[in-house]
């Protein structure tokens, strides 16, 4: 299999997806757990939400799918929302922590 997806490019696109309530992007919030390319052109993204039953669940997962699809070589996307391990504030980037006043 030839890997064609550049995860750094996908990550850059995902940085354009914002949590509408917090105003922070999903990468800095630590909501994206991992990305894989199990088959050529197929992108699997595992992500979570800040809280189970997050009201923005559907719109956020949809936005991640749309943003990732803009990366070169992505032919198929599967966004999996996972709850284990749960999201914790330690997953946030220093910039996100600063914005939320959490250190």
């Amino acid at each position: 299999m030839i890997a064609v997806i550049d995860f750094r490019e996908v990550e850059a696109h995902l940085r354009e997806v914002y949590d509408p309530e917090l105003g922070l992007n999903v990468v800095d919030l630590g909501l994206i757990y991992r990305m894989e390319e199990p088959e050529e052109g197929k992108l699997v993204i595992e992500m979570t939400m800040t809280t189970p039953g997050c009201p923005a669940h559907d719109s956020l997962a949809g936005a991640v799918e749309w943003a990732a699809a803009r990366a070169f070589g992505v032919a198929e996307i599967e966004v999996r929302v996972v709850w284990n391990p749960p999201w914790t504030p330690e997953r946030m980037s220093p910039e996100a922590r600063r914005v939320l006043g959490w250190t």
């Binding site: 890997a3 995860f7 757990y33 894989e36 809280t51 997050c54 559907d58 929302v81 939320l100 959490w102």
Partner: protein, 442 residues
Amino acid sequence: MEDARKAGWMSASSQVPFSVPGMSQGGHSPPVTLPLQYMIAGLSCFLLFACDLAWQVARGVLFAPGSPAGVALTHLLTLGALMSFVMGAVYQLSTVAFLMPIAAVRLARLLFYAYIAGLAGLIGSFSAWWSVGIGIFGAWTAAVLYGFCGNMLVSLVQARTRGPMWRFVFLAHVHLALALVAAVVLVLGDANLWPAAQADQAPILATHILLAAGGFFGFLIFGFSYKLVPMFTLSHGYDTRYENWAFWASLVALWLFIAWCWIPMFALKLLSALCAVAAFLAHAQAVRQILKRRIRKRIEVPIRGVLVALALGVLWAIGLVVHASSFAGAVVWRGLGPFALMGFVSLTVISLAYKIVPFLVWTWRFAGAKQTGSNVLISHLLDASSARLVIAFNAAGALAVATGAWLDSGWLCDAGAWAVAVSLGMFGVHMSSVFRRAWRKE
């Protein structure tokens, strides 16, 4: 490079040893237009209430005991503004809080139109004190609310998580159903169809008010606070034991108080008042635990509004103790009803509206807008800090009305009512601006 690509990408800020796909924990919510239509009706009724309140103060007829205009005004607030808004919020929040779907979404939609028609007829009948109309539209509105209760109770029994929050919300709907029974008995008594109920309406009326205001609105506010406050402050891993204490204390307080309405024993009244204080303090402690573990360090103005409302609730419960322990309690009692409704209940609903309404409008108009490349955030729709003046006026107004009733001071009551009317006017302007921005979708 090739190997690195095959290995995949992992969040740099976290170690994720394994992840387990969970059941879909979104996707239970009904279409966003369902809660929104109820909320728009509620917001409109808040504005009508503000206008009617100001009009009654200007005419000098406010708080005339048992006046048709006063009864109509009270129901415009309770059934119109609060109930409509709360029904919308319940349809949305229950699915989020308990990860369950609404049993009958289509029924919920149909009930909306029936509710608005019944409500308009009932408020009109109250204003004119038209007994036949009160009977017909009262029965109609009660039937719709029974439909709402049934829909929610059937939905709630499907919930997998059943903590204190679930117990509060479940019992709130049971109390609403019981409050409606009391209302039906009152109407039957008023229409001479049930002589026994006509003889002494005071305990039935008190039971109706306690079940609706305390048992439904109070329980819902307590219950949903344990979802909304952590959600909006990003709080995790907090101590939940006080939630149980708040539940049992409030349940005992409510039913002791109802018992006192029928068996006027001093001990029952005092004990119920003390339990009410314990319930509010336990609830305050539960909220404090949530806030202690919050990640968003800056507490937003709407959440501060919830805290102010909670403080008013504690004051209300203390007022109840004063009423229970004093033998000139009737004066205190007169101020407690409006204080609970305009203070704790309305202020909590208004404050949370500053978070809930923009979110729903965002979901409705902008959630799919990523595809167009625009990144509209909820804060673009409404600056939540604009709630500051609304909360201040509302709290001051509710306090002034209660104190005015207590001191038998007409001008203080009028000033308080004006402050509440002004705050609701500003609230209406803020909420309408959210919808205006949504229509001007960029």
